[in-house]
Amino acid sequence: MTTTVSNLESEGLPDPTGHPDEMDRGKVEGKSPTRLAIERFRKDRLSMVSFIIVALYILGGILAPFLVKFGLLDPTSYHQDLLNEFTLPEGPLGGISWKHPLGVEPGTGRDVMSRVWLGTTLSLTIALIASLLAMAIGTVLGIIAGFTGGLTDGVIGRLIDLTLSFPSTLMLLALSAPMYALLTKNFHVPEGDLAWATYVVVFLAIFGWPPIARLIRGQVLSIREREFVHAATLFGASRFRMYFKEILPNLWAPLLVSFTLLLPAYISAEAALSYLGVSIKPPTPTLGNVLRDSLNYAEFDFVYFFSPAFAIALIVVCFNLLGDGLRDALDPKSNR
């Protein structure tokens, strides 16, 4: 675009056509809702701290595979030489040293920090993909239900009820073997970690979308009464345009909030599933299967015992605080 005039430039110029009294008023009202939300968020200390920790986790998660590649993290090498005759780490605090800041694993001598760090990457990735999928399904169905109403709304409503009434955890356990077989044989997903990850992601998404759909449906019910939606109908907007160009951009605030609340729920869920043995299997580390192993050493090696549990708790709590902070900042009326 060649004729773009930045806001800063044109702000200072006298307005040739505008009406002076209206122009002044325009400036007073000029702060966008987004700006105001960011300002409110910045003032909230706890949310800012959570935001920074979450950001560090994500950065660390992205870096981990590269650190493994360059040999800075090593989650698989055994260090039997660092273990004593009871196969517990030698030295105090689980064998903490410069090379192994969180000590080594009892029994194998693998580096604890490497395992927790890489485990975080894998767990975050699974939770992230699953929540994006659940958000996508929930958002599309929620918009359609809320906007169309009538029979479609009824059908989607019943589908939500049905999904919520399934005993999902039991089904997850019961279906793990046949679904794993189906994925690897019929869908040609490579056996092992990838197939397990796919199973968990799909399962979490399929049982996770209903609350999102409900929330979005409620929001759309109020948005569709706004006059800009009528205006869009009048200039002949297609269904697709209505859903994704007119309505969706007005949903990003509730979507962002539910995303930051769904993600930690999925991190915990994935950990629980690894613990139950239906997610990625050892020796590949995930937060869940590192945790499962560490729980055996409550008495003998508390650094090892605490490391994965703390890693999970911190990210879950911070994501939840971040979600709450975002909700308060974006919708000041909803102060609980």
Binding site: M1, T3, T4, V5, N7, S10, D15, P16, T17, G18, H19, D21, E22, M23, R25, G26, E29, G30, K31, S32, P33, R226, E227, F228, H230, A231, A232, T233, L234, F235, G236, A237, S238, R241, E246, P249, N250
Partner: protein, 415 residues
């Protein structure tokens, strides 16, 4: 006030006090009806009943909101009709029926002779170019997530009227027409004031070059000082582009300059309709007279020298369960027995003047006897009169007939 009566400079002596004053200050003469123009829109016995559902699983229909109940009127090409009434009387619903945001329960909407009341989505698409709407609330009528350029340009892109490259110049042209800086196309709605947003909405409604604009209280959300500017803009647009207007308002002051013809609605029905002179100087319905008494500079003429405002007792009844007979009777100062028994037909009492009342008359001059009893075949209390036979040609029509019943001369009037 006509253009001749406007004295330049006279208005500078004092602060503009009313809508009418401000409109004259800005130099716009009152609009006159195009002579002999054909109707572009004919609305015939239009009804909109919204079902009221019971709560719970079964959601049975337990009643209907009779939002619009048998409304008929005409808008001529390039003309403008004002639709006036209190909140909740069904004005917006009427507007949304005409723009086919809603599908009417019954009745006809003839646009350029073609009935569009039950047209399907595909048939509506070409029609959307011809009938557009200006909305009441400038804060919800623009999508807050789109730039002004995207908002105004969207209709062009959707109807593929212009190639992509020519959309921006057209958007800028439209911004200029409505009095905004054409360089502001990439700003967001929140960067503008209420009046400027309404101008953006007006620009959007003009993009498809419509033949009919439904303006749903286009200025009632704005400051009084800005109202006049926006009404003037609409008047310029009408003059320049020859667009016909259905101008919805909740008081008679706003439409006075704009609309050569005005319809007054009460609880889903038109109670009085006529040209400017019939409504503002010769109102025959007690409800119109009450509305007029709230307009400062016509109060004196309309209330026969009395200066006080006519205050209506009580609230507007619910449109779910409207009063029997005349819907205005619960608040009417001159209601009598017949009013509860029979609904008054909309009678033509002048060349361009119809009124729906059993006792039509200028303020303080209402007749003693119901004028409609003979037509309805009832006695003065509204009981069936064995001696009289009801008239068969009480069918309401959208336009005006060539003959009417002249109340003053008690004769049949002719063109």
């Amino acid at each position: 006030m006509t253009f001749e009566e406007y004295v330049p400079g006279a208005a500078d002596d004092h602060e503009p006090a009313t809508m009418a004053d401000m409109l004259t200050v800005a130099g716009n003469a009152a609009a006159v009806a195009p002579v002999g123009a054909a109707p572009i829109l004919e609305v015939d016995k239009l009804r909109m009943y919204f079902p009221v559902k019971s709560p719970g699983l079964l959601r049975r229909t337990v009643g209907h909101v009779q939002a619009v109940d048998g409304v008929s009127f005409q808008v001529v090409e390039g003309g403008s009709l004002g639709l006036v009434g209190e909140s909740g009387c069904g004005k917006s619903t009427t507007g949304r029926l005409i723009t086919r945001l809603y599908t009417p329960t019954s009745g006809a909407i003839r646009f350029q002779g073609e009935d569009i009341a039950h047209a399907k989505a595909r048939q509506l698409k070409p029609l959307r170019r011809d009938i557009q709407m200006i909305f009441q609330d400038p804060y919800t009528s623009l999508n807050p997530r789109h730039t002004v350029g995207a908002i105004i340009g969207a209709p062009l892109a959707i109807h593929k009227i212009l190639p992509k490259k020519q959309i921006l110049p057209r958007v800028q042209e439209l911004l200029e027409i409505v009095g905004l800086n054409p360089e502001h196309y990439n700003r967001y709605p929140h960067e503008f004031s209420g009046g400027q947003r309404q101008r953006i909405g007006i620009a959007r409604s003009l993009t498809l070059q419509p033949k009919l604009l439904v303006a749903d209280e286009p200025v009632s959300a704005l400051d009084v000082s800005i109202q006049a500017q926006v009404v003037n803009l609409l008047q310029d647009i009408q003059r320049e582009f020859g667009v016909a207007f259905l101008f919805i308002a909740h008081d008679l002051a706003v439409v006075r300059h704009f609309c050569p013809e005005v319809a007054v609605m009460y609880l889903g029905k038109i109670v009085e309709i006529g040209d400017r002179d019939s409504i503002y100087n010769n109102a025959h319905h007690p409800y119109t007279q009450a509305l007029l008494s709230a307009v400062p500079d016509v109060r004196q003429a309309a209330t026969g020298g009395r200066r006080e405002r006519i205050r209506l007792e009580g609230d507007v009844p619910s449109p779910i369960d409207p009063p029997s007979g005349c819907r205005f009777r619960t608040r009417c100062p001159i209601a009598q027995e017949i009013c509860a028994r029979h609904e008054p037909p909309l009678l033509q009492i002048g060349q361009r003047h119809k009124v729906a009342c059993h006792f039509p008359g200028r303020l303080g001059e209402a007749p003693r006897e119901p004028l409609t009893s003979g037509l309805l075949g009832v006695d003065r209390e509204g009981r069936p009169d064995p001696g009289a036979s009801p008239s068969t040609d009480l069918v309401e029509q959208p336009g005006f007939a060539d003959t009417w019943f002249d109340l003053d001369k008690k004769t049949i009037g002719r063109v």
